[in-house]
Amino acid sequence: MDLIVCLKRVPQTAEAEVQIGPSGKEIVRDRLTFDMNEADSYALEEAILLKEKFGGTITVISLGLPDAEDTLRIALAKGADHAIRIKAEDFGELDGFKTASLLKDALVNVKFDVLLTGCVATDDSLYQVGPVLAELLGAPHATLVGKIEIAGEKAHVNRELEGGLIEHLEMSLPAVFAVQTGINEPRYASLIAIRRAAGKEIKLLGKDDIPSEHRVNSTLEKLFVPPAGKRAEIMTGTADEVSARTASLIKEKGLI
């Protein structure tokens, strides 16, 4: 089974302060740590599990800056066979559509049975790359995938809908699946695998390799700090003090 996984390196912002840079259009990168997008790490693990079951090869691809190669290399160590970086530095402003178009051009000659992406990236929250890439490649897709079972040419796929409901689909391969978090348990790379991955080549594709023009669907005009909504009343003091106040508040509401 030939597998492709699209990976993105993103800043880890859940617990970090995110500052806007001088241009007003980008964030200050230097104080942030970067890592594989959360949903993508599940997509990668799913590909590795499929490879372990059915054999075949995994190609990982990332449209990113040079440091995306660190992420690709980790993917190689975890079980991918080939890696490609599309040089983001060559292509100017990106959006979901342009990203998918570039990925399509890079992958147009790579055969696959299953192409996996994460369902959304935590930095731009677009939900686009999987389904747009599928459309461009002429393959069927499913997003928010929480389970994949493959039997012959068919895949049984569960999509996660709102409220915990599951949509069970039957799809034929090749297909594109945008994977939701929690579908599996991503592994750590073993040291031996890391050593073997260290020497592997990462294929680079720049504007000479992908010369065609790619339009964007949208242009970023500015970033701004969200207007404060209803702000919580923040309690201050020691753990003891805030706990005492919280407890009496709960009591006032008649809940204890």
Binding site: D70, I74, L191, R195
Partner: protein, 380 residues
């Protein structure tokens, strides 16, 4: 000249850090309290190849170099100091001497078990009356037919209570002084071997530190490391290597303390502002960060010397161990200071880190012994 980690070292650091922060760090306060040996963590680490970092693949190891081992030990210790030394002992005090000084048969027999986590290793050198003065040891081994008969008591042995494979030192010929010491691999289930008192330690409390008792323990002749009388040399050579890892452990503990201190100093307010705004707190943080970086470079340099194949790197290893231990105790002390009274409470990690750090100046040669090693190289 190049300070960059290699591509595989960078990946190793990334994966070990993630593993350690998600799987080990949350357990650290717990096992500090309970003293429970972290077997489940060790099994997971075995799968990743962390129990045989420097052992070649053909013996079940990962085949990395000594700088890489130091990086791994730093990351593990940053999450949990107990686990850090348990892994360090398995790697550099057990697999290393077996790899370096034993027969092919012994390597094939023991290394895979140590790498797979089926058995954990320990290093039995210290005795009730022989610490810094190794040659004062009282344990003996006398050859009888195909076996050595080992007698004696070892004290303060890390992993002692849980290990399955021990590297043990004893006199085969007392008259020859330190040239009469030999080293053996002893299996736990050999008759006459028993584990004695479990130490109730100040820090690194989950390390199964125990007394080992040998009463007419029959060790097969083949389990001798090197030749008879090589024990002292093996011991010193092994300690040179393992001191790099204690240096790495120190850097990890110190880094954890700095992380905690920086975070706390930004959160804690006094006199109407975060305490990190006070110059004296800034000075502490600057000192800590600089000391840690200097120590890390010494550790990596010592590893580099070993990797480069330098015959004698005792001085470099001793420097890294001595300096890193010294600053780890200092950095953890400062971290407690930055936390004020809260730093003295078990609610905060720095309390544990401060206790964990002290051992660094004591085991695998006290700081005094390291200075002797360094000075003798210069004055000899």
């Amino acid at each position: 000249m190049n300070f960059d980690l290699t591509s595989d070292q960078k990946m190793l650091q990334d994966q070990v850090r993630k593993f350690a922060q998600t799987e080990l760090a949350p357990l650290a306060p717990e096992i500090d309290k309970s003293g429970e040996f972290p077997w489940p963590s060790l099994k997971k680490m075995a799968k990743l190849g962390l129990l045989g970092v420097i052992v070649p693949e053909k013996y079940g190891g990962s085949g990395f170099d000594f700088v890489s081992l130091a990086i791994a030990i730093e990351e593990i210790s940053r999450a949990c100091a107990s686990t850090g030394v348990i892994v360090a002992v398995n790697n550099s005090l057990t697999t290393y001497p077996i790899l370096e000084f034993s027969s092919e048969e012994l390597k094939k027999k023991y290394l895979p078990q140590l790498c797979s986590g089926e058995k954990i290793g320990a290093f039995g050198l210290t005795e009730p009356n022989a610490g810094s003065d190794v040659a004062a040891m009282e344990s003996t081994a006398r050859l009888e037919g195909d076996h050595y008969i080992v007698n004696g008591t070892k004290r303060f042995i890390t992993n002692g209570g849980e290990a399955g494979i021990y590297v043990v030192f004893a006199y085969t010929n007392r008259d020859l002084k330190h040239k009469g010491i030999s080293a053996f691999v002893v299996e736990r289930d050999t008759p006459g071997f028993s584990v004695g008192k479990h130490e109730d330690l100040m820090g690194i409390r989950a390390t199964a530190n125990c007394e080992l008792m040998f009463e007419d323990v029959k060790v097969p002749k083949e389990n001798l490391l090197g030749k008879e009388g090589d024990g002292f040399k093996i011991c010193m050579n092994t300690l040179d290597v393992s001191r790099i890892d204690i240096g790495a452990q120190a850097v990890g503990i110190a880094q954890a303390a700095l992380d905690e201190a920086v975070r706390y100093s930004k959160e804690r307010k006094a006199f109407g502002q975060p305490i990190c705004n006070f110059e004296m707190i800034e000075a502490l943080i600057a000192e800590m960060a600089t000391e840690i970086q200097a120590a890390r470079l010494l550790v990596h340099y010592a590893g580099f010397c070993k990797d480069k194949g330098m015959q004698k790197f005792s001085k470099e290893a001793a420097m890294s161990k001595y300096y890193a231990s010294d600053i780890a105790v200092d950095v953890t002390r400062k971290a407690v200071q930055i936390h004020g009274g809260y730093g003295y409470s078990k609610e905060y990690a720095v309390e544990r880190l401060y206790r964990d750090a002290k051992i660094l100046e004591l085991y695998e040669g006290t700081s005094e012994i390291q200075k002797i090693v360094i000075a003798r190289e210069l004055t000899r």
